[in-house]
Symmetry: D2
Subunit: 301 residues, 4 copies
Amino acid sequence: MEIGLIGLGKMGFNMAERLRLGGHKVVGFDFNKEATARLTSLGSVGVDTLEDLVKNLSAPRAVWIMVPEGDPVDQTIARLLPLMQQGDTIIDGGNSNYKDTQRRHAALKPQGFHFVDCGTSGGIWGLKEGYSMMVGGDPEAVNPLFPIFETLAPGKAEGWGHVGPSGAGHFVKMVHNGIEYAMMQGYAEGFSIMKAKTPLNLDLVQISKIWQKGSVVRSWLLDLTADALEKNPTLDGLTAFVPDSGEGRWTVFEAIDLNVSAPVITESLIRRLRSREDNNFTDRMISIQRNAFGGHAVKKA
Amino acid sequence: MEIGLIGLGKMGFNMAERLRLGGHKVVGFDFNKEATARLTSLGSVGVDTLEDLVKNLSAPRAVWIMVPEGDPVDQTIARLLPLMQQGDTIIDGGNSNYKDTQRRHAALKPQGFHFVDCGTSGGIWGLKEGYSMMVGGDPEAVNPLFPIFETLAPGKAEGWGHVGPSGAGHFVKMVHNGIEYAMMQGYAEGFSIMKAKTPLNLDLVQISKIWQKGSVVRSWLLDLTADALEKNPTLDGLTAFVPDSGEGRWTVFEAIDLNVSAPVITESLIRRLRSREDNNFTDRMISIQRNAFGGHAVKKA
Amino acid sequence: MEIGLIGLGKMGFNMAERLRLGGHKVVGFDFNKEATARLTSLGSVGVDTLEDLVKNLSAPRAVWIMVPEGDPVDQTIARLLPLMQQGDTIIDGGNSNYKDTQRRHAALKPQGFHFVDCGTSGGIWGLKEGYSMMVGGDPEAVNPLFPIFETLAPGKAEGWGHVGPSGAGHFVKMVHNGIEYAMMQGYAEGFSIMKAKTPLNLDLVQISKIWQKGSVVRSWLLDLTADALEKNPTLDGLTAFVPDSGEGRWTVFEAIDLNVSAPVITESLIRRLRSREDNNFTDRMISIQRNAFGGHAVKKA
Amino acid sequence: MEIGLIGLGKMGFNMAERLRLGGHKVVGFDFNKEATARLTSLGSVGVDTLEDLVKNLSAPRAVWIMVPEGDPVDQTIARLLPLMQQGDTIIDGGNSNYKDTQRRHAALKPQGFHFVDCGTSGGIWGLKEGYSMMVGGDPEAVNPLFPIFETLAPGKAEGWGHVGPSGAGHFVKMVHNGIEYAMMQGYAEGFSIMKAKTPLNLDLVQISKIWQKGSVVRSWLLDLTADALEKNPTLDGLTAFVPDSGEGRWTVFEAIDLNVSAPVITESLIRRLRSREDNNFTDRMISIQRNAFGGHAVKKA
């Protein structure tokens, strides 16, 4: 079928390619003209304006947005809406907060537009391996998009599903990322313990490779970790600084709002915050407290 | 080659079978005569005494112990030693504490015996899929056992390795299990959050299956979780009670001894402890504190 | 000076009394006629309508609201506003979210009303010992209220302060409660450990009393804990169920929004959530995972 | 009464002084001759050998050891024993592990010596305010020491007690310190959150002083914190590096051994470990994982 794709970054460009290879007509827009030119050169239709994007698609249109969450999504929708017709569908495939999604759906539906949310996992590997997609929205909006999901997914009926009403897709993706935080932190702690056990002189690369086969902790994340460790076994040249892009903290907020205790996902987030705290104030407060009651020496800067 | 196997439980019996299928001569002992009879019926040699086990093996012998950690390992070694000869090798394939392993190694070596530790992962699936094995010990003891490891492993050169001196195998397996705790807790928290989001009415079985393909959180553990959830999507009939068999707490102790902060593995253990605390005293203490300063009502039993 | 007081519950009634004893004229309103009658019987002016409350105060008026946070505060303000005059001051002394406070301040100021926030600590003991108060608001609104704060506080210039602009009082009180959660959890864990050490047969009441004098952990909270433990040393008859009234979770949200890692306050909140989870789903998920990979028995309900 | 005191450091010297002021004869030993000379100059008996210490005391003797836990305690006992007589008592007033205490008690008792453990809290403030003491040991050993405890304590019958058999004193002190960790971490997190809320421009010194009077979080630790903050409100010149001297980690080990979930005391310890991890390996591992699956940029050193 035909699909418009707005945002040809790391994720969007590869999705466009996977769709083209799957036989769909892809019309792709990005502010970056190099990206659209490259898309065209590969056989899709790269365009430089949203007007051209809409013109190149037959109604009822399906336009997939793959831009950073928050204002960029709202702005894209605002600019797109006047160009589109009732019955057209917008799919937000990015990492939006499900509450924003539900707000957007509530605003678009009365105007006659469909709004579908798709939590998309798979990162930079999706072009080759397919994307895991959790889709939320009204069935009449989601059903016509099946050919798109079937192509993007790892298998026609695998790795994707319509998980619920509007927002459900982004909600499930949010939790997915929360779990991802916990898994990453778990692996990282384990490797740190092994690295610290210097008398055993353990080879972290060897161990990561052993665990890839037959162990209980084998996973795709471990496969990637093993490869990355092999390239840089001591992690030299890296700073201990871990960003978070939003979904982890939303998962924590949601757990608390739902009165669900989720200590490990929460702590995984907190450790990321900690990684960005220079000359930690909390630790310095404890130093002065220890000094105040026990006369313990403080470490000077 | 020939190998003795002591302990034909869930793990040991299947390992014996995988070895037999791989062309090795297996002599298996267990106190349970049904298990030894079944082993014999499948084509290996089931015996009812350690004397018979030793007699049925040619020197230098390799005897693999697969019994619960702690006293059972010490007792097995004590009873085995008088029957064996210098140059024979004992392999502890169970979940022993690496410090016990190092102590046993230090005791056996001067007496002329080899002692090898093998952390074995794979659970009840190992017969079919192979076992992931982390081996510790002296090279002269480990090297002759390569045919055994190559057969038990998922692939000849995959899923196992000689990771270091005595104790290294059990140390790495211990950390492996610590990571396993964190992964399990991470998944479980995520599913709990989704279950609690009742307005979205999410289908946990569907979601676990989606994530198996293409998602960042895909793993073998998730595969098993998806299957188990499908059989009992509401987890009815289960009690919220989680045992721990030792390796998780050892990982926590070790992290602290090494001055490595490992909050997520630690919290995963703590939650297991919490699952077994009935009428939690800590919570009741907080209740009386709240009542004492704020007059907040306490909930009566 | 004169002051109106809306909400004569556990906190409000005692504050009214402390103000009366300090020489102020107090006009108190509550829906509960018993409370207003009792106030009158003690020498203050108890009234049954907001109209009467306002009428009994000279302009510019100061009206202190002591009602549950959220809608009750908004409703009280909405009903009060038409009765009051420009230049009058409303003080919110309850546990409101500082963001609500800032919103209310922003709405009231252009209408000519002052709005002051006062985080009030001290619980049911304030009548006797005085209240600790953290005040936020415009100086021209806060300054005329000094006589009120000086009377309510433990000492004229002790235990209270104008800590910043609108919202600052409630923000500081919110953090105060976060710290309170951590302290309570810390004490409760310590006593739980001692209780569990059965071979030492420790007397928790005795120990709490020892620590009250000279120890590093002495505190007012410990004083109250010691008294409460003495009355019920085994905490019999209590259920392990701990509510949370909002400020703890707001502190956690705020810490995350500010990118401050606050693991102990956060975990103290999470444990309260945990105390209210019956037949914990997370634990049951872990049980089925353990069963799935290792054949470990699950505990049936 | 007469008492020997070995170890005239920060704690020991002040205890000797408080005992002298209370009318006891104190014979004090330290390797540091300045300390013994100073003790003598104040009116006690400073000695430079253990022989002299023992000679200056009448049998049955009471000798209080105030040295670092571990080997120093064992060495002191070993050197003291040949000089003493059956019926003499050794008191370990330091921060020993209660398991060491029980081992020492079991070794000394059959030789006819008494061994008493005293967990001592109060830090550098004890001289003035008295020490909180938790005493363990056999009643026939503890009872004759009452005059000593009554003098050291904040009040004759306040702030100390015989809490149980050998080891009980050190056990309770260990838990006391665990609670102390949690309280310090709780306060420090709270102040960090307030400091980070830059739009409110909160004055941490002012707030700490407000909370000292009437608030629920008032405590001796807060008093000290307020004083320390006043001297250095920005904590300039300090490094975020927090040592731990043993009792916190023992509390964590003990909680786990007792199957008591104590997440907040545990996390308080873990944060101290974290404060000492430079260029945290765990965080760098997470960085390469994020890069590996999502192409997220890593921060270079």
